[in-house]
């Protein structure tokens, strides 16, 4: 049974106020066509889990410019001066984590873990409000799972069952975010039939993916 839908059908599954996981690193690995569709429809008040600020006219930056983002949960916003300004003016909320912590929080949600202990951030502002544990003479912060309503993935190849293959550095957060949202939509540059991808080369199992849409390169 094919999971392929049109972008219009898939965007209809979203609504204002959602928490959205968006993979990507400075825009690489972020779905392009799907972001444009969200901007066109104007789905707003979004909490976005995304690594960085991207650039003002790229990926996540487009959502910011279009005024659709209420809050960013990420690691770094320095590449997007528009976002930096909006955060300073308190027009967009910002929740920061070290990058390795952000990805482990997402993985924990997807993997059914109640949390992980990381040494990153000990003795810094990052530890504020967190449970601190000492184990074997070393200090760790307890970081809790981070889950989303929807994850919007980008893959180089996808099949009709939702099996995905990423290309080069566009992989980044995609395989992890695929595991941690109630609804998972994948924009794929190249759509193939189930069975056409070598089962050893699949990077995200299709069982995680609910909807596949055709995107662009």
């Amino acid at each position: 049974m094919s999971k392929v839908k049109s972008i219009a059908e898939a965007v209809d599954l979203l609504h204002d106020g959602m928490t959205v996981m968006l993979p990507g690193f400075l825009g690489v690995g972020t779905p392009k066509a799907f972001i444009d569709a969200i901007c066109a429809k104007g789905i707003r008040d979004l909490t976005v889990i995304y690594n960085d600020g991207a650039f003002p006219d790229v990926g996540f930056g487009k959502l910011v410019r279009r005024g659709l983002v209420r809050k960013l949960i990420g690691t770094h916003i320095g590449t997007n001066p528009e976002l930096v300004k909006l955060v300073a003016e308190k027009k967009i909320d910002l929740e920061l984590y070290p990058q390795g912590t952000l990805v482990e929080k997402i993985r924990a949600a997807g993997a059914g873990l109640g949390g992980v202990l990381t040494p990153t951030g000990v003795g810094t502002a990052v530890e504020e409000g967190k449970t601190i544990m000492e184990i074997g003479g070393k200090t760790y912060l307890l970081e809790l799972p981070l889950h989303a309503d929807v994850a919007l993935l980008y893959a180089h190849i996808g099949d009709t069952f939702g099996n995905l293959v990423y290309r080069r550095a566009a992989r980044n957060f995609n395989p992890i975010m695929a595991t941690a949202a109630d609804l998972v939509i994948a924009e794929v540059a190249n759509l193939v039939e189930a069975g056409e991808i070598d089962p050893d080369h699949v990077m995200t199992p299709g069982i995680f993916v609910d909807v596949v849409v055709r995107g662009c390169e």
Binding site: V28, L94, T120, R168, A169, F173
Partner: protein
């Protein structure tokens, strides 16, 4: 010494710290320049925290590949033996102690080897990105920076005044004026740049510096 010359000096000096077989992560800015002084014979593997090892030089103009950028977002290439992975693996490599050396810039370093290189965004800074994991996880942390701020005030201080990236993780500081080792006893001045005296360094350093009998000239 001009800014370019001093950045080059720092980068060349740091390249001499790297040993054969090591896995190295170079931060944005001056640290990136270290790559210019790594030869294939050195057998160094560069890690890029956005998801690969085997980072190569910039591509020829027109040969950029959209999905292949470094952690600064610039188009790059990969070398034979490279491989790609997801962010969870990239930071497992970082936090798990599989990076031998990380080189990164800093706004401040202190006598305990703590460093500050990000700013709380409410105060106008960008966020920590992958830097905190790199500093905590790498076996060896080398700071590459100008010895002072543009206004001449010291960046090497008794105690960091800005939000720290990590406590007590820095091993070596390489600036345009000096090479300083972080030891259990405190900061030890190991080398001074050509044309720079020990007293020049002491004058531009707010932290207490231990000056051993022998302070070499920095060879880049």
């Amino acid at each position: 010494m001009g800014a370019d010359v001093s950045r080059e000096l720092i980068a060349r000096r740091i390249a001499r710290e790297l040993k054969g077989g090591e896995v190295v992560n170079l931060g944005i800015g001056t640290p990136t320049l270290v790559a210019n002084y790594i030869t294939p014979e050195m057998n160094i593997t560069l890690h890029s925290e956005n998801g690969f090892v085997g980072l190569g030089p910039a591509p020829a103009p027109g040969e950029e590949i959209s999905d292949l950028v470094n952690a600064g977002g610039q188009p790059v290439t990969v070398l034979p033996g490279a491989c790609f992975f997801d962010t969870a693996m990239s930071f497992a490599i970082i936090r798990g102690g599989h990076i031998d050396v990380t080189v990164l810039g800093a706004l401040e370093v202190d006598e305990e080897g703590s460093l500050a290189n990000w700013w709380i965004p409410a105060k106008g800074g960008p966020g920590m990105g992958g830097g905190m994991d790199l500093v905590v996880g790498a076996k060896r942390v080398i700071v590459a920076m100008e010895h002072t701020r543009k206004d001449g005030t010291p960046k090497i201080v008794p105690r960091c005044t800005m939000p720290v990236t990590a406590k007590g993780e820095v091993d070596l500081i390489v600036t345009d004026m000096a090479v300083i080792e972080v030891t259990r006893e405190g900061l030890v001045l190991r080398e001074v740049a050509p044309g720079v005296s020990v007293s020049d360094v002491l004058a531009k350093t707010a932290a207490r510096l231990i000056v051993p009998d022998e302070v070499k000239e920095m060879v880049a």
